[in-house]
Structure formats: structure tokens, C-alpha cells
């Protein structure tokens, strides 16, 4: 990326972000092995050497793009999780979460990340560290809260429960005939209900 102050012409930070954005787009469109430095440079409106000067290769560039340029949806603060009941947090977040998860962008990114997990583990590692782990810790806090309340079975491993929820949803959106946002909302409720994190309101 942009180096420290040197003597000659400084690098343009906007160039960095343009390259990273182009890299993420092309990763999603074509995957790691389908994307090329040449395309990324072209889409960023930049010469190839401008890319090579900053990153040693495709993998490093895409990994950093995954770290830095994925739009983050809003996550409740840890304090909220401690204070509020899981049921309340979940009911407040579910519609937006369903919308996000059912979107074509999420589907595409999820597919490409999964597809790269074995051949390019560093990519998945970056995604895991920067995007998944923070959310998992939040979910684990919610689950522990719910286990104290008795809604979730106390002997269950929170990591396994999280995998079941996340795995079901990600797997569902990659299946043929993926759900739209409304169907996804019902689906997530069914999953959470099975775990014990959600109880349907009487009227719905």
C-alpha cells in the first residue's frame, strides 16, 4: 500500500482504494483464478506497474481487498448484547439481516469466499479474522445469555450452534432457487427457533 513519506512524488491514496475496489469487484465476478492483475488495473484506471508496485501478487491484493473493502452492516455493540435480551436484539436485527443475506451481492461474495477456502486459505483467513470472528463473538455472547435464561440448552457448544445457524443460511442462499428477502426472514426465524434464540410472537 501507500508507503511512508519519501523524497519524490508521493503516491495517491485514492489510487489505493480504486485498486482495492476493482480487485474486490473482479474477485466477486470471476473468482481468484478468473481475475487478473491486468483487468484490475484497467478497471481501476491505472497502469499495471502501479499495482505491482504496491502488491506482490493477485492473492495479496485480493486478500487485502477482502479485509478492507467489504461493506460492513451494522453490528450491535457488546454493551447492547449484555443489556438487552437476545430475543429483543434478534427481533430488531432480523429484517435487515434477512435483506442483506438474500441480496445478490452477499450470495456472490459468499460463494467466492467458500470457493477459495481450500485453494487460497489466506483469503478465507483474512475474511474470517476481519468479518466473521467479530460477529461470532457477538453471537456467542447472545447465546451464553440465552443459555442462562434457559432458552438455549445449556450443554450445547456455542461454536457448534453458531455454525448451525450460519451454515444453514449460507448453504441455503447457495442452493438452486435461492430465497428472496421475505422468505429468508421466515427461514432465519425457523433456524433461530430451532436453536432456541427466537420465539414467534403470538400474533404472527
Amino acid at each position: 500500500m501507500t508507503a511512508a513519506r519519501g523524497r519524490g512524488r508521493p503516491r495517491d491514496p485514492q489510487t489505493d482504494t480504486a485498486i482495492l475496489r476493482a480487485a474486490l469487484e473482479l474477485f466477486i465476478e470471476r473468482g481468484v483464478e478468473g481475475a487478473s492483475i491486468e483487468q484490475i488495473a484497467k478497471r481501476a484506471g491505472v497502469g499495471k506497474l502501479t499495482v505491482y508496485r504496491r502488491w506482490s501478487g493477485k492473492e495479496e491484493l485480493i486478500a487485502q481487498a477482502v479485509e478492507q473493502t467489504i461493506p460492513r452492516d451494522l453490528v450491535p455493540s457488546p454493551e447492547d448484547v449484555e443489556a438487552m435480551a437476545p430475543q429483543e436484539i434478534i427481533e430488531r436485527m432480523l429484517p435487515a439481516a434477512a435483506e442483506t443475506v438474500a441480496s445478490p451481492e452477499f450470495r456472490a461474495l459468499t460463494a467466492r469466499m467458500m470457493g477459495s477456502a481450500v485453494s487460497h486459505p489466506a483469503l478465507m483467513a483474512a475474511y474470517w479474522k476481519h468479518h466473521i470472528l467479530p460477529r461470532r463473538e457477538l453471537a456467542a455472547a447472545m447465546l451464553r445469555h440465552a443459555q442462562k435464561d434457559g432458552a438455549v440448552s445449556a450443554d450445547a457448544d456455542p461454536d457448534v450452534l453458531i455454525d448451525m445457524m450460519v451454515g444453514a443460511v449460507t448453504w441455503r442462499v447457495l442452493q438452486p432457487d435461492p430465497p428472496d428477502a421475505a422468505e429468508m426472514l421466515r427461514y432465519i426465524k425457523a433456524v433461530y427457533q430451532q436453536i432456541g434464540l427466537y420465539r414467534p410472537s403470538p400474533e404472527s
Copy 2:
């Protein structure tokens, strides 16, 4: 593929299988975008034209290669599922299933299939129809059985429960630091237990 009886020299069926095998290998190694007809032909020991004579393009070829992959894990017959208790079926199958699912081959194929789900839906559709659906029907039968017995909550949607089990496992094997067979066995038991399909034996 090999056409019906014609006038001239018939096509060699072994050539078909050699091409399909090479196509599946290269799909797993490099993904749809990374594989090429040229490589597939070379690995199969065959001229390019011999491939083009049978398939119109990479996608069709790989789709058929995925269809015809013969998974060697044994599936219990539907009669077994009706007759035996789910607990018994599961306990009998779990160790082999854990071994399969934790293997590098399964991880790699799973990653590539997921990775192609959005960009090449026909590929996922072929996999779904030929490999996933039959197993889902078996699992659904087991779940209905278990719901009658009261082990699994009767109001739960079997499709959702299957997604939770399959999703958790596939997601788990694609995470950084994937489990070995022994750890996978414990993991699957935890998942099944949460669903209600498994109860740990007293001594273990």
C-alpha cells in the same frame, strides 16, 4: 458424449471416462475459471478436437463430470430407513461419514461447488439433483421417523433441519483450521444431538 451407432468408427467409451475424470480433477484443482479445455485434453491424453467433438464447452463438460462422479459412501436403502431407528442408522454411519467429510477431497470438491453456485448455477443444479437430493430425501425420512418418536420437535421443518446439519458441517470444513476425522465425528454428534437425531451412549 458417445453417440448412437453410426457408420464410421465408433467412439471409444474409455475416452469419455478419461476426459470426464480429467475434467473433474482440474475443476477441483483450479475451479471453473481456472480449468481449460486444453489442459483437460492434455491430462486425458487426448486431442482437443476429441473433447470438442463431444462437448460444446467447459461448463457442459464439467457439469457432466460432476454428475457422474461416483461417491463411494454407502447410503442405506429407503427400506432400512423405514425399518430401523434413526439412532441406529446414524450410529452405524457416523464414523464413515465423518471420515469422508473430513477428507481433503471432500473439502476441495465442496469448496469448488459452493464457489460455482452463483456464477455457474447449472453446475450446482447438476450436483444438487444427482448427489444432494437423494441424500436429502433419506434424511427427511429419518427426520419424520424421529419426529413421530418425539425425539425431534414435531413442528420443525425437515428441510430447515437438514440445512442446519449439512450447512454446519460444510461450513465447518471450509473454515480455517479444519477438523480431522476424529474431531469431525465429535462435531457431527454435537450437531445431531442439537437436532434431536442423536443421544450420546451412556459410557462414551
